[in-house]
């Protein structure tokens, strides 16, 4: 008879054998339904919903290289470090390197030289588990400034927070809210709802965007737009007539004046003929013919040169100088040739000539000349070529390209006119001569007045591009900070509550911040939002306050989009 201990020993062996059998049966088993069998001993739990389908085709091997390999490779894998991060980054890509802190090359303090996805993200915690849930401790792993929580020890917000630069549009909140509308003339236009009169809370997100110009500024400022003409070209003064009257006549036909002349001439001719017939005008017939020839411009050139007097006393405007590439817009010797060529070309091909010249400067030449009719260009050119002032067919133009006696101009159709924007953008690109730029951006006259509100900025050194800030834009380019207005608005109540956080600072020298092109040298209309403002609610035992509520680890707001596109590519 076997002793109790004997049975116990046998049972222990059986148990060991049973476990080994289970491992043998399920440890190396084929990947089952939906890639991985629940009985697979290597399955430490379901994948999160987002990753659940990974295993469909290749099973665990989708992430774990060692899976389904030969015995030797399998054993080797036990001694080699895992490289799961590589597998992650086949779908998850970032602006920076995937295995650097914040996908950026920071100054590395030694503790974390290289990051792995699995350092923070844990999988196999069940279909419902979040892979992205993080604890504050994980952030504190690297961040040297350690603190307990947001409400307790978070570094102070930067000065002028959340503003890190001046606003794109010079819009003095203080004066608009508290000054301009005091004036009885405008009091009926006063924004009764204050902030939300302009800021559209329906679209509130990271920013609360401002409604369109037409719905806001236009009420007062629309009229200022129309008067701002852009002068493209003038007919300058020449010392001698650069044009060949015969060619011009051939190309343009008689000028209007000439036609009138012809009318007169024809009556003169008839009179002369009658005189001739009557015999009355027989006297000095040759003189009469010469007189008529002169009237038709067919007179003797030698006498004409001496007689040439330019109809214009203008010089070339900067845009024309830019367009023609001449050295000096005030020196007839410098511009006569190019101007003659241009006028001739305009006679030949109308606005195409200007387009051709402009194309050498910018790709969006066509846009810059949008709405210029070939006829206008040609008519103007013919008039000028005949040393005559152009006579516009009708005086009033609603806007768009038009010409007056000695110039071709553009009048904005409305706020946001693309042609004017195009020309102003051209003005700020590198290589534009200073005088051209100054003209274009001259706030006092012409289209440059756009820059009165739309700031012209250059962030950084001289090598950086200067741009006109056409759009109401994001205040902060801090991509790792996240804030959403919407939930806060709903919580705090509409409209009036903006100023709970955004408090006007009437003392700020707001306008002074727009006297130069550096957007970072500025004074905010608002007082800085301080930590305590947020911490009023985001504090222990109140609203949650973990790091990831406001901070984004991956320095990239588009990671999700990137995953989708990466998958689509595959």
């Amino acid at each position: 008879m076997r002793s109790l201990r004997g049975y116990r020993g046998r049972l222990s062996l059986l148990m060991g054998a049973f476990v080994i059998a289970i491992i043998a049966a399920f440890g190396f088993g084929e990947d089952g339904v939906n890639g991985v069998s629940a009985f697979n001993t290597a399955n430490p739990g379901d994948l999160s919903a987002a990753h659940a389908n990974f295993t469909k085709d290749v099973g665990c091997a989708a992430c774990h290289e060692a899976h389904d390999k030969t015995a030797t490779q399998w054993i080797q894998a036990a001694w080699t470090p895992g490289n799961l991060s590589k597998k992650c980054s086949s779908c998850h890509t970032f602006d920076g390197p995937a295995e650097s802190p914040h996908n950026k090359t920071f100054k590395i303090d030694g503790a974390v030289a290289k990051t792995e996805c699995a350092m923070c993200h844990t999988e196999h915690k069940g279909a419902g588990a979040s892979v992205v849930a993080m604890s504050d401790q994980q952030c504190h792993a690297c961040h040297e400034k350690k603190f307990t929580s947001f409400s307790d020890g978070h570094p102070k917000f930067s000065k002028d927070f959340p503003s890190r630069r001046r606003t794109a549009i010079l819009f003095n909140h203080t004066s608009h809210l508290d000054k301009h509308f005091q004036n009885k003339r405008y009091v009926d236009k006063a924004p009764k709802q204050r902030c939300v009169a302009c800021h559209d809370t329906a679209l509130a997100d990271r920013n609360v965007p401002v409604r369109a110009f037409e719905k806001t500024c236009a009420a007062c400022h629309e009229s200022q737009i129309a008067k701002r003409d852009l002068q493209l070209l003038t007919f300058p003064e020449f010392e001698a007539n650069p044009f060949d009257p015969a060619e011009i006549l051939a190309a343009c036909g008689l000028t209007k004046a000439a036609q009138e002349e012809v009318g007169e001439l024809s009556s003169d001719l008839a009179k002369n003929l009658a005189d001739l017939q009557d015999g009355d005008g027989s006297k000095d017939l040759t003189a009469r013919v010469n007189e008529m020839k002169a009237k038709l411009g067919l007179g003797d050139p030698p006498t004409a040169v001496e007689e040439y007097e330019s109809v214009s006393t203008e010089t070339l405007p900067p845009l024309a100088v830019l367009l023609l590439g001449v050295e000096d817009g005030e020196d007839p010797e410098s511009y006569t040739g190019p101007m003659r060529d241009l006028v001739n070309a305009m006679i030949e091909s109308g606005d195409e000539a200007v387009l051709e010249l402009l194309s050498e400067r910018t790709k969006s030449a066509k846009q810059l000349l949008a709405g210029m009719s070939p006829e206008l260009a040609r008519s103007v050119a013919c008039a000028w070529a005949g040393n005559q002032e152009y006579e516009a067919p009708s005086e009033s133009s609603l806007g768009g390209w038009f010409a007056d006696e000695l110039s071709i101009n553009y009048r904005p159709l409305r706020h946001g006119d693309p042609v004017v924007r195009g020309w102003l953008d051209l003005a700020v690109v590198a290589g534009t001569p200073d005088d051209v730029r100054n003209l274009l951006l001259s706030k006092s006259e012409g289209a440059g007045a756009c820059a009165k509100c739309h700031s012209v900025s250059r962030e950084g050194g001289a090598d950086k591009a200067v741009k006109v800030e056409w759009q109401f834009g994001a205040q902060s380019d801090q991509r790792h900070v996240r804030y959403q207005h919407k939930p806060h608005l709903n919580l705090l109540g509409l409209g009036a509550s903006c100023e709970t956080c955004h408090t006007l600072n009437p003392d700020a020298e707001y306008d002074a911040g727009f006297k130069h092109i550096d957007p970072l040298n500025f004074a905010s209309n608002f007082k800085s939002i301080e930590n305590k403002t947020c911490a009023t609610c985001h504090a222990k035992d109140k609203v949650k306050q973990e790091c990831t509520l406001c901070h984004e680890y991956h320095n990239d707001h588009s990671i999700r989009k990137k995953v989708v596109s990466n998958i689509q590519e595959k």
Binding site: L4, Y7, R8, L11, S12, L13, L14, M15, G16, F18, V19, I20, I22, I23, F26, G27, A38, F39, N40, T41, A42, N43, P44, G45, D46, C60, H64, A66, H67, W74, I75, A77, A78, W79, P81, G82, L84, A111, V112, T115, E116, A118, M119, C120, H124, K125, G126, Q137, Q138, H140, A141, C142
Partner: protein, 272 residues
């Protein structure tokens, strides 16, 4: 009279508290470095389980001086508690996700629970056995019960012969026979109750009012033997429990160690 030395338990207890504290702290440090503390705790847990398992082999190595078994038991008990705490630190949750991990955790908990229960039984049952006043070797119990039964049956026969009445015999056939067949009232004996005595005072002794003086003499002897049997039953049950709880503890421990080794291999192949 004799006292178990608490010294080894205190000694190992203090050491394990220190070790656990160090592991806990180190885990935090590793976590703050975004490392994987489960590697440290896992290997420590594995070592602990192997050391725990070695206790069983220690029993087979009693010929060599490798410390007293009582020291080893103290070590085993303390290390068991330590391993349970370490398991919590390693797994982080009570119930893991994967089926295999659940098997591992389930077995581990069962081993731990059986260990705690077994230890409690081993601390409490010997006292109760001692209080029976009799001492008997477990393997001898079936023979002892048979012997008691034979003596009772002989008494019944003799009683019938001497008294000429079969009242006692009928009572024996109808009632007492059941009692003497095998160990009875096991649960009561296990939990320390007196169901056997209660039964003997009730149904077991019910025939007493119908018998004469001669029969009473025999009947009293039979009841005395029945009471003795109750004590033997108690030994059977309690000694049995003290032996059989290991039927759960040891095979499960083998399973846990086998499962854990495979777990360790998988983790090395797949993750680290």
């Amino acid at each position: 009279m004799s006292r178990r030395s608490k010294l080894p338990k205190i000694f190992f207890g203090l050491i394990s508290i220190v070790v656990f504290g160090a592991l806990f702290w180190q885990s935090k440090v590793i976590m703050l470095r975004l490392g994987e503390p489960a590697i440290l705790t896992g290997y420590t847990l594995m070592a602990s389980m192997l050391l725990l398992g070695f206790f069983n082999f220690r029993k087979k190595l009693s010929m060599i001086p490798i410390g007293r078994a009582s020291t080893w038991l103290a070590f085993h008990v303390v290390l068991g508690v330590f391993a349970l705490a370490l398991f919590g630190l390693h797994v982080g949750v009570f119930w893991p996700q994967g089926l295999y991990e659940q098997m591992l955790a389930g077995s581990f908990y069962m081993v731990s629970l059986s260990g705690v229960v077994g230890y409690a039984l081993q601390r409490s049952l010997p006292r109760r056995l001692t209080q029976t006043g009799v001492e008997i070797i477990y393997e001898r119990i079936p023979a002892e019960l048979a012997e008691i039964r034979e003596r009772v049956e002989a008494l019944v026969l003799e009683c019938t012969e001497k008294s000429g009445s079969d009242t006692v015999a009928q009572h024996y056939m109808g009632t007492l026979n059941w009692y003497f067949q095998k160990p009875r009232f096991r649960l009561s004996h296990f939990v320390g109750g007196d169901a056997g005595g209660y039964w003997l005072r009730g149904p077991g002794g019910a025939a007493r009012r119908y018998i004469n003086d001669v029969e009473k003499e025999y009947f009293d002897q039979i009841i005395a033997l029945a009471e003795l049997k109750s004590l033997v039953d108690r030994h059977f049950v309690c000694q049995g429990v003290m032996k059989k709880w290991l039927f759960l503890h040891i095979p499960l421990a083998v399973a846990v160690i086998a499962l854990a080794i495979w777990h360790l291999i998988l983790v090395n192949v797949y993750v680290i």
